[in-house]
Symmetry: C2
Subunit: 200 residues, 2 copies
DNA sequence: GACGAATACGAGCGATCACTCGTAATCTCC
DNA sequence: GGAGATTACGAGTGATCGCTCGTATTCGTC
């Protein structure tokens, strides 16, 4: 498998494919998004699509990787990691949740990759990064704030917190205006309540 | 549409179909469960299957209705509704959550109907009962405990609580032994923390 | 401008899906 | 025991899916 020499045109086409895939995932979800529909939305033929990706799963995988990077960028610019331990819990949660919400609102369809247990099992490698990148980050923060907490407990707490966020992200993205703001507030309250009792 | 006269044999076959459907939903989810596979698992031909159900959606709908009834039965026997307002919050949550967990452990695949936003939109009528039967119940309990809470707020709080439960039900069902117990404890802590701050 | 590599096309292949239909066995009720 | 309804079958239909392949065009490089 020699790494293919790629022209600038090709890079652009790949980006087009990922854009189209994200849009379709947002509209109909992973399973019901056909590869022919992706090609059509990206303005190319099925044959051209398969010049860049070996199969549908690889498309989701590449999209997932791109989203992971965008998410990481959004988070690292959102807070300088040094002061994490000193921050009040509510403040910390806002600084993590707000960019995450903004990210999901900006990229609806990300949750098709993010929260989806119905993903093909083989896609674990492609879908898991998004899920576990976030969980790992949260676990690290929890460990930094509560060093005495056993590692398995910190990981379980992080996983639960991420599941709660993922569960409410759908309604939050679907809602608008005041209702969305109210749901975000509820999410933060839920996290504060849960993590406060976990830190004690 | 005159209600079809059904023989005892037919009733048994319908139950067989729903059993098979629930098992397959647990294994591969709604989308990837084929009607031919349902028929085969139920020990009948596709033609016989379609004697009892007009389409795949109707099968899911009937299964959902059966689960709603079983769930209602499990809950009403689990607590006499009179003392709901007086109970300590943690106790109340245990009495609601424990039967729900037991139900989902006994019927894996119920969550394919329960928590699934990827369900066909038209299935709202079939899948919503399970979701909204639980949410409505929770909203009623919240209103009973906090009568001064505006109704929209109570409904939103109930919805969030149910989403949290649904989000953790998957990991809980998937886990075993101590890990499952630990996750159930986390779920209850999360609910206590959230609902305490909501009741205030 | 010529040559190889990369890009591009789209009809169509094989598989699978939800669902049908002609036919036959079995049950209910008189 | 016979008529009509119900139950049962399973090969088959049309649609859709992920994906291929033969061929044509464009690009980078000399």
């Amino acid at each position: 498998m020699p790494p293919v020499r790629r022209q600038a045109r090709g890079e652009r086409r790949i980006a087009d494919v990922l854009d189209a895939t994200l849009a379709l995932f947002a509209e109909v979800g992973y399973e019901k998004t056909s590869t022919n529909a992706i090609a059509a939305r990206a303005g190319m033929s099925p044959g051209s699509l398969y010049q860049y990706f070996p199969n549908k799963e690889a498309i989701a995988e590449a999209l997932s990787q791109r989203l992971v990077e965008e998410l990481r960028a959004a988070h690292t610019t959102a807070f300088g990691e040094a002061d994490v331990t000193g921050l009040p819990l509510a403040e910390l949660i806002s600084r993590v949740v707000d960019p995450l919400v903004a990210f999901n609102v900006a990229h609806p369809g990300a949750k098709a990759l993010f929260g989806n247990a119905a993903m093909p099992a083989a896609l674990a490698a492609g879908s898991r990064p998004l899920q576990s990148a976030v969980t790992g980050r949260v676990a690290a923060i929890i460990r930094a704030r509560s060093p005495e907490l056993p590692l398995p407990d910190a990981e379980r707490t992080a996983m639960v917190a991420v599941q709660i966020v993922a569960a409410l992200m759908g309604p939050i993205v679907a809602a608008e205006g005041d209702e969305r703001a109210a749901l975000i507030a509820e999410l933060k309250r839920a996290l504060v309540g849960y993590l406060e009792s976990a830190e004690r």
